[in-house]
């Protein structure tokens, strides 16, 4: 645990908290999950302590299809954080899932120049890592999907 504080302040791994635990547990079984409100049916990401539509706390995590389209994106060419110095250029994209919510992630497995708004993408799960408290997780990322 020696590096926990440094990792918390300067690290780049997510931190698994109660509100997001169900999401990250899903990634360990290669499932992209959305938080669903039992009272009004609202679907939201990221997870929260209540439904942002009706404030109900009757929430559960449901698997999503893993399909979506690129709503917007950027090709990052300057590493603002030292952890990403070897990654540039990389694509950060907001993916609109078929179920509705928008999730921020990366689009991989294609040239950065080929990414477009509206491009269909499909989730994949990166290798397992640990957060600052040694809780396991896998980052969901997206790659181009076959056009329907």
């Amino acid at each position: 645990m020696a590096h926990t504080l440094t990792e918390l302040v300067m690290g780049t791994s997510p931190v698994v908290i109660d509100e997001t635990r169900g999401f990250w547990e899903g990634t360990l079984v290669e499932q992209l999950r959305i938080q669903v409100c039992g009272a009004c049916g609202n679907r939201q990401l990221p997870g929260g302590p209540c439904c942002s539509s009706c404030l109900s706390q009757d929430l559960s995590w449901q698997p999503a299809s893993g399909h979506g389209t690129v709503f917007s994106f950027t090709v990052v060419r300057h590493a603002f954080h030292p952890s990403f110095a070897d990654e540039v250029p990389y694509v950060v994209a907001d993916v609109e899932l078929d179920e509705g919510p928008i999730i921020t992630s990366n689009v991989t497995d294609c040239p950065a120049e080929s990414v477009r708004i509206g491009m269909p993408v499909k989730v994949w799960f990166d290798e397992q890592l640990e957060d600052a408290f040694h809780q396991p997780l896998r980052l969901p990322k997206f790659r181009p999907a076959e056009e329907a």
Binding site: T12, T20, F80, S83, T104, S105
Partner: protein
């Protein structure tokens, strides 16, 4: 009595901006505070309200407590706030409200930073990622990476070109060339703009605010009645508005429409004016795209028409709506919007020399930030209308 015109910016203090090695953020804040009080013709013993925003470098909890002790103040109202780029305006609004409510009479509003030569802003940058649902794990670190998604969508939906973004940068640089305090004063051509490297497409280096500046800004806000007896012509606070979209980039409409439409509508209503009455605007320019979207949100242009409006040169001195007459954050200094407020008061005084907008009677200021989520508007005028 309405709060419109009931308070005024009566003192402005700015330090040098840029690289100021050996100057702590506290030292710069103290200098700006002294200059603002001297400008108003007041002493620190007149101050009974303190409104501060903490610096990113050397951040401390209870910033206002610490600065107030350093300045030897005895306050009746103390506030330290952090809502991103809307903080500066929001604090001035809070000062006006506190004065109007009788909670204090002379408010000192202060911000200062030494992130250029002092402790790096990495801590702040890391925290910026943290605030957004672990997005830093995907390399969502740094303001340009966050804002680029908005710029990309805005270009796509409204056929905005790189040259339209560039015309914002060029106007700010033109104004900075007339401002001895500005960091970047060399003229900027469209060729130079287009040749500048991408940091996060579609944003180039020259689309982005100066990354970090050393410097400080302080403002004295007091009642209109008291301001009239002070050293400088008052910049009356005629309109105030605020609006937030805290859902941010989870809301598909948020990429191309900010809460500035709500915020400015409330400010116009309070001031009893409309966009057609505005002589000069200081618009929060963390990015060129932000300025264009704000021009539309504020009713200066119809949706999708701010780009062509800028390209025609309308943002320049002599144009239809001079914007960011100090050079703004793109060319003067990154004072997270505080320099826009200083410039607004100085334009209303007619004290801007070569960059003065003739007969500047109404100035609009926008503040915008915190992942584009928070927005605030201030309208200052030369008379109570």
């Amino acid at each position: 009595m309405s709060i419109s015109g009931d308070t005024a910016i009566a003192g402005v203090g700015t330090t040098a901006f840029g690289k100021l090695p050996g100057r702590s953020a506290w030292s710069l804040q103290a200098e700006a505070a002294r200059l603002a009080l001297e400008d108003a013709g007041l002493t620190k013993d007149d101050v009974d309200g303190l409104f501060t925003e903490s610096q990113f470098s050397e951040p401390l909890l209870l910033h206002g407590h610490v600065l107030g002790r350093m300045l030897g103040l005895r306050t009746n109202y103390l506030s330290t706030k952090s809502i991103g780029g809307a903080t500066a305006i929001s604090l001035v609004q809070e000062a006006a409200m506190a004065i109007h409510a009788g909670m204090c009479e002379v408010a000192l509003c202060v911000f200062g930073e030494n992130a250029k030569t002092g402790m790096p802003m990495l801590f702040g940058l890391a925290q910026m990622g943290r605030g957004q649902a672990d997005e830093i794990a995907y390399g969502m670190a740094g303001g340009p990476v966050m804002e680029a998604r908005s710029a990309m969508r805005y270009m796509r939906e409204y056929s905005v070109t790189a040259e339209m973004f560039g015309s914002v940068a060029i106007a700010c640089r033109r104004h900075a060339s007339l401002n001895p305090a500005a960091t970047y004063r060399d003229p900027l051509t469209m060729e130079e703009y287009l040749a500048s490297r991408y940091v996060a497409e579609p944003l180039r280096v020259l689309d982005c605010t100066i990354a970090a500046s050393d410097g400080a800004v302080a403002l004295v806000v007091t009642s209109a009645e008291r301001a009239r007896d002070l050293r400088q012509p008052p910049a009356y606070i005629a309109g105030m508005g605020a609006g937030d979209n805290l859902d941010g980039f989870r809301d598909p409409t948020h990429y191309t429409h900010f809460a500035g439409a709500r915020s400015s509508a409330r400010a116009y209503a309070m001031a009893g004016i409309g966009p057609e009455d505005v002589d000069v605007a200081q618009l929060y320019d963390c990015f060129t795209s932000t300025v264009l979207i704000t021009l539309e949100d504020y009713g200066f242009c119809k949706k999708g028409e701010a780009g062509p409006f800028a390209l025609e040169g309308n943002l320049m001195l002599g144009g239809a709506l001079p914007v960011n007459t100090s050079g703004g954050m793109l060319s003067e200094a990154n004072m997270t919007g505080w320099n826009h407020l200083a410039e607004a008061a100085r334009q209303i005084r007619g004290a801007c020399g070569e960059r003065q907008v003739p007969a500047a009677e109404v100035c609009v200021v926008s503040g915008h930030g915190g992942f584009q989520a928070a927005h605030a508007t201030l309208i200052v005028t030369n008379e109570v209308r």
